[in-house]
Symmetry: C2
Subunit: 297 residues, 2 copies
Amino acid sequence: MLSLRNLRYFHMVARTGHFGRAAEACSITQPALSMQIRELETHLGAKLFERTREGARLTEAGREALHHADRILGAVADLETQARRVRGPLSGPFRLGIIPSVAPYLLPRLLPGVMQRIPGARLTLRETRTAILIEELLSGDLDAVIVSLPLDNPELAERPLMRDPFVLAVPAGSEFAAADFATAEMLNSPDLLLLEDGHCFRDQALDVCRTLDASRLSSYGATSLSTLIQLVANGQGVTLLPQLFVTAEAKADPRVKLLRFAPPAPSRMVGLAWRRTAGIERDVDEIEAAVQDTLDL
Amino acid sequence: MLSLRNLRYFHMVARTGHFGRAAEACSITQPALSMQIRELETHLGAKLFERTREGARLTEAGREALHHADRILGAVADLETQARRVRGPLSGPFRLGIIPSVAPYLLPRLLPGVMQRIPGARLTLRETRTAILIEELLSGDLDAVIVSLPLDNPELAERPLMRDPFVLAVPAGSEFAAADFATAEMLNSPDLLLLEDGHCFRDQALDVCRTLDASRLSSYGATSLSTLIQLVANGQGVTLLPQLFVTAEAKADPRVKLLRFAPPAPSRMVGLAWRRTAGIERDVDEIEAAVQDTLDL
DNA sequence: CTCTAAGATCAGATATTCTTATCGAACATG
DNA sequence: CATGTTCGATAAGAATATCTGATCTTAGAG
């Protein structure tokens, strides 16, 4: 008979790609976990993992099963959350995910704001890229995420929080530095720098310069926005940055000139997303209110 | 730690409204079930049932929890189904629900058709009203249902099978019996007979005569379409019937005259619905094909 | 007041799941 | 080419969780 224990272990092996580490994460020993996985495989009548030297890799059947398992675990999280809900918003531990390009700006303001509004609140935070956040959200490992909207996933509900305009960072000494506003031509520079693949802000930046032939892009693929700024400061090119991030981290460097776009400036919408079925609207309300408080500062 | 066992028992108590009968249905003893329910209540921190003399009634918290629990069990059913899927359509036991006004027409044809197409198929059938079918579908107790579409539930996928026109049944001796076609005026008769509340066909009939003031309806509220026909045969009024039902059951009675509507005749769409996440499209294809075969006869 | 039907409780039996110890295979390395 | 390391698999007994069967409690019906 299928059990949630099976699925929790399965989920963790899939996530870590490693029986041993998964066992540790589940606070059991590796043999116990192996047995549960084997039982699950027997029950479903399909091998879920290829056991390789490096660990465990999902089979095709495993990938499909994982998708279902994650939906189940997400629904279980909803059930457990719902019970706590009666005790007021954010009363239980609340697990919030945030993308890196927003976190440094928002967190230092959001956290005190929430704590002031709800003294007993217990927020757990996680900062990583959108795709991973969404996966963890859907499987119930997170309760809500702050990402760039829209996500266009029917299982998720969204709430916009703030609009985040893009600015162009250029080397202080460059020909562009004299301009009052950023223009489309500046984006056509062969030295446009972007984040590496997989960061949502890379795609958003590409959206902005859709006129640009992607093959002409500089291939740097930086890992973080801070790195990008360093590259610009060294005169290696220009880059798009989200205003929120600039406000928090990039003010000081004299070697970088920041240019706003003339209205209508390109921008993205940052907001909350959560499982539609979670029934955490009241918690979302609180977070939104805390964010609005910080914006008034 | 929450477990599926908990939820299965919970689901069954909610469904039977009775600890003892639920225990029997789960093939365990009543104390074992009581313990699991108590553990679930402790874990969720809320009482799920009022224990009364007559059995167990869901509390408000219980109702909400049941909704989540049913979604979980439905997702579990999806996971288990998906594994079987590789062995070809309808290879596992397939549980199909059908509404009463379609069953007598469709079943005698559908079953042989499916058996011919897939000799090893094992269909389990259940005939009851739409609301109950949908509930059982969502909780994974059924794999698919044949009902009147559209259902307009985002968790469900639909596939139209056939259009089912309405006909008007009038007493053979009445003034209406001479007409060639049914008309809107005939529906305005004070003796319009309908099924009791809760049958989907009642609502559809009401849709057809939306011009009619509901208070003028005869209050009979019959339990089955066969009863309705008997009432009409006895001259107690007129009624709307689905053509499919008439074809199967009502041909013979000489005291009833059946009138078709002039085109465009009012009608309903009968079709399949299943959990969008179940991944049983291939099974659905087979059932659809079997139905199409029978329609060609 | 007694009887009945429903769920709760408790002690011991049973099943499941876990841990510890050990093994075997697939590499990498000296 | 032997040897060590890193995986996951296996086996036996220990620890937990769960179930059964007997009994109890409660609330309403007769």
